[in-house]
């Protein structure tokens, strides 16, 4: 039994591609962010920190992400809770539908929302006629929050549903026999058991929103000031390409995502250990 090649050689093609197209670009960003006109320095970060324009982009990215993640999470929680209480066929069907809508993202989503809620959108007109809204604009902060929330809901539901399905009916029964009503059950058992899943899902939703680019780009091109829009514009805009500044901003984005994850891990470690059953 002879070997054609040493086994580890079979790992090399993969390693090569992964390093070249995933790790090297990240490395390049990490290096170039600190390169100011040929020498090391924090100039780009200073520029970002002092520019109201960039600070606005960071602030708006954080704002839209937090708000849409929170709204998406709340709606997903309600939906998942109700789903556990509905009949099997309806539940399976709804999960399949949610899966389907979670694939509907990016440019097509933006176009669909233009048709639904654009200046002449079906829903805009309908709501205006009923008098519920008067000057809604899809291209504003509110509009972006609506569309972000929309794409957070299916993702949140898919991530949370297994946790909700894991809440055992036994626990509720045992709690009720020990004197706990519905509120006491949720405060002492339901929510504490779900906490890791909720925290994890919230983190993923925030990361998802912070990194989102295609939808906003298709919707407002570069006219709404967000981090991803700024980064892309600095490397592929029409004039004044500043790749090193883009790297610095990209590094800040990655840093923010890492921070969110760390906070979540820290909270998780502080919370009670939950059995995986």
């Amino acid at each position: 039994m002879k070997r054609l090649l040493p086994a580890w050689l079979w790992l090399m093609p993969f390693a090569l591609v992964f390093v070249a197209f995933q790790m090297a670009p990240l490395g390049w960003i990490a290096v170039s962010a600190f390169q100011v006109e040929g020498s090391w320095g924090l100039g780009h970060f200073q520029e970002i920190a002092t520019s109201p324009f960039f600070r606005q982009a960071i602030w708006r990215s954080l704002e839209i992400s937090l708000v849409s993640s929170l709204l998406g999470l709340i709606i997903a929680v309600l939906a998942c809770h109700s789903l556990t209480r509905t009949s099997g066929p309806l539940r399976r069907w709804m999960i399949a539908f949610t899966n389907m809508t979670s694939n509907f993202a990016g440019v097509p989503l933006a176009f669909a929302f233009i048709i639904l809620m654009g200046a002449n959108g079906v829903l805009t007109l309908a709501l205006q006629r009923v008098g519920l809204i008067d000057d809604f604009s899809l291209y504003s902060r509110t509009g972006l929050i609506v569309i972000y929330t929309w794409f957070q809901i299916p993702l949140g539901m898919l991530l949370l549903f297994p946790a909700f399905a894991g809440l055992r009916a036994d626990w509720r029964d045992a709690a009720s026999l020990l004197g706990a009503g519905r509120v006491a059950y949720w405060c002492h058992i339901g929510l504490p058991v779900l906490r890791p899943a909720l925290a994890g899902t919230f983190t993923i939703l925030i990361a998802n929103a912070m990194g989102a680019y295609a939808t906003v780009y298709a919707l407002v091109n570069t006219s709404y000031n967000l981090m991803t829009i700024r980064i892309a514009n600095l490397v592929s805009g029409d004039l004044f390409l500043q790749p090193n500044l883009a790297s610095a901003l990209a590094l800040i984005l990655v840093g923010l995502l890492a921070m969110v994850t760390l906070i979540q891990q820290w909270l998780l470690r502080r919370s009670h250990h939950v059995a995986e059953r």
Partner: protein, 383 residues
């Protein structure tokens, strides 16, 4: 003392046994204590429950004395768990009422019934330590902190888990989990303790140990207990009284001895022990007697085998046994202290249990034997 509903009942399949070892042994070992206090502390009056088209159970009547340990025994799907959950208030009832100590609790929410429950899969709250799990009921009752601590400590001592007080459920073994669940149910001093197959998820050794411990604690506290199981050995060993359930009805009730030795229907006979159930003609062919009953039941240990070569009936065969009938041993199974023979005799295949008294006494497969039946142990069945 008890309203019994063993309605005549026609279905031909016999429920399968979950366990089939040393039943005779258990029956002789079981304790027959009966409580004497108020005979109807827990009263169930014609309870009935449907899920859509299916009748889960109906005509359930029972009176259970204070401090009594009563087991609902039956194959899975016979409605015993649903009945237990209905008593706990976790399911609604379609008909009937439930009284505890003279007070009707039929439509009280579970929180107000004063009923404790132990579940098959423990149902411990995974986010709480053992102490917090046990203290939960007291917390809901707003029992002050110090008293809570004292009572939790007491009950943990009772179930021998004090050293695990600070652990989380996932750090405990199944047996320990179930003891925590028991402590959690006991600490609030429930009027009735309900147990839904509490030992089924445990392995055999732990199960036997915990069985004894459960029974001891129940006796110490004088706790009125309703225990659900499909394991007849468990039921025989633990209960003051057993209700045998089948297809949503109570087939028969009585203490372990009565239920084991005197089944009244073929379902009961099929579920208890390893009964041979014979039709009238088969009984006639085998025993030579004419029975009024359509069927009779024969316990496998009430049948005696003797090699044809031996001249006279051995010392083991009771004097009031029948004349003896020629048979052939078809199969032999060694079940430890018991040898189970399948004997073909008068065209009937009988299951016969004999004590395993060493290889010299074992009868060979395909050998001819004389079959004697202890006529006192022939049980006539109602249908």
């Amino acid at each position: 003392m008890t309203t019994l509903t063993a309605a005549p009942y026609a279905r031909d399949h016999l429920p399968t046994l979950d366990r089939c070892d040393t039943v005779a042994e258990v029956a002789t070992r079981q304790q027959g204590t009966t409580a004497t206090a108020s005979p109807d502390y827990l009263r169930l009056e014609s309870l009935a429950k449907r899920f859509g088209e299916t009748q889960v159970f109906s005509q359930i009547d029972a009176e259970i004395a204070k401090g009594e340990f009563v087991t609902l025994l039956g194959p899975s799907g016979c409605g015993k768990s649903t009945l237990l959950r209905a008593i706990a208030g976790l399911n609604t009832l379609d008909e009937g009422r439930i009284m505890v100590g003279g007070e009707e609790i039929t439509s009280l929410p579970p929180q107000q019934r004063g009923v404790g429950m132990v579940f098959q899969h423990y149902a411990l709250f995974p986010n709480m330590r053992v102490t917090d799990n046990v203290a939960f009921g007291l917390r809901m009752q707003k029992v002050p902190q110090e008293e809570r601590g004292r009572r939790v400590d007491e009950v943990l001592r009772l179930v021998e888990l004090r050293e695990h007080a600070d652990k989380f459920p996932h750090q405990l073994s199944g047996g320990q989990c179930q003891r925590v669940a028991l402590a959690r149910a006991l600490v609030v001093e429930p009027r009735i303790l309900l147990m839904d197959e509490p030992l089924s998820a445990l392995d055999a050794r732990i199960r036997r140990h915990l069985r004894q411990q459960l029974r001891d604690i129940q006796k110490t506290l004088g706790l009125t207990t309703l225990f659900v199981t499909h394991d007849q050995e468990e039921a025989l060993m633990m209960s003051d009284r057993i209700f045998l359930m089948h297809d949503g009805r109570i087939l028969q009730q009585g203490d372990a001895e009565a239920l084991y030795t005197r089944p009244r229907s073929h379902q009961a006979a099929g579920f208890m022990g390893h009964y041979n159930v014979l039709s009238g003609e088969q009984a006639h062919a085998l025993l030579g007697t004419v029975s009024r009953a359509a069927r009779v039941a024969l316990r496998p240990e009430a049948i005696y085998l003797q090699p044809v070569s031996e001249a006279s009936p051995g010392g083991e065969v009771p004097t009031h046994a029948g004349p003896g009938c020629r048979g052939v041993i078809r199969r032999r199974q060694l079940l430890g202290n018991i040898v189970r023979y399948a004997v073909e005799c008068a065209g009937i295949e009988l299951s016969v249990d004999a004590l395993n008294r060493g290889s010299r006494h074992l009868l060979a497969e395909e050998s001819e034997v004389l079959v004697f039946v202890d006529l006192d142990e022939v049980q006539e069945l109602e249908e």
